[in-house]
Subunit: 142 residues, 2 copies
């Protein structure tokens, strides 16, 4: 195993450890899972969308979307109705309650993320963003 391979391996291990720790800590901190908050965030930006377009934005399976929405609906954050122009679609929107509750979550998330990047300067943030973007692109080939 070459030195270069070792370094690649180390980078992968760091990413994977981040991978393991990020979601649980995010949720303990903010009170909501990253994917679920992402769903709410998307809904906050638009008025009403289908589950499919939600699924594309949030990057999880449509089955996972269905289950999240089922719980969000049960907790009164979200409403769903059939699209009258095409009955295959289900249209989703935030309730007023949902729209007001989301603010607190977004604030918690902001603090959490700020902590993660606390010692990164402007240049580093920009570089980091760029490298993550490229890595994600490389991952798309699979």
């Amino acid at each position: 195993m070459t030195d270069s391979n070792k370094q690649e391996d180390q980078i992968f291990d760091l990413i994977y450890r981040l991978n393991l720790q990020l979601s649980p800590k995010f949720e303990r901190c903010t009170g909501i899972s990253p994917s679920r908050l992402s769903i709410l965030h998307q809904l906050f930006e638009v008025d009403e969308v289908s589950q499919t377009s939600l699924q594309k934005e949030v990057n999880i399976d449509s089955a996972a979307i269905t289950r999240h929405l089922k719980q969000l609906e049960a907790s009164g954050m979200v409403q769903r109705r059939n699209d009258p122009t095409d009955n295959r679609f289900t249209l989703v929107r935030l309730t007023d309650q949902g729209r007001s509750e989301i603010a607190a979550y977004k604030k918690e998330k902001q603090q959490f993320v700020a902590q993660l990047l606390q010692d990164f300067n402007e240049q580093e943030r920009s570089d980091f963003h760029d490298m993550l973007r490229r890595m994600l692109d490389n991952l798309q080939h699979y």
Copy 2:
């Protein structure tokens, strides 16, 4: 929301998308999950270790370790026995079969990781490693 906050948010979203896609794609590519390969990798380095020290290296729950080892044992990759000097411990080691099979997995992983970092030059790899390290450290505060 300030521009700075937006950038932090974007970085988080990239990491989280990486987070979501990494494990499934790794497993499709290599034929084994990252954590399970990590367990095998640790066992490859040493002769025989307790589950607890394995757990610390791999950074997953001891319950998860138990379940992985149960399956690895069933598939003949791994052997377990009680520590004769302290019966609380279970000592784990690779079988000969396990030791020979692991080589193929490591090779697959190496290719996968090389692809992820294909367009990163030396400096970028070093910087990236450094920033991931710092981010992981920041995460430890939670």
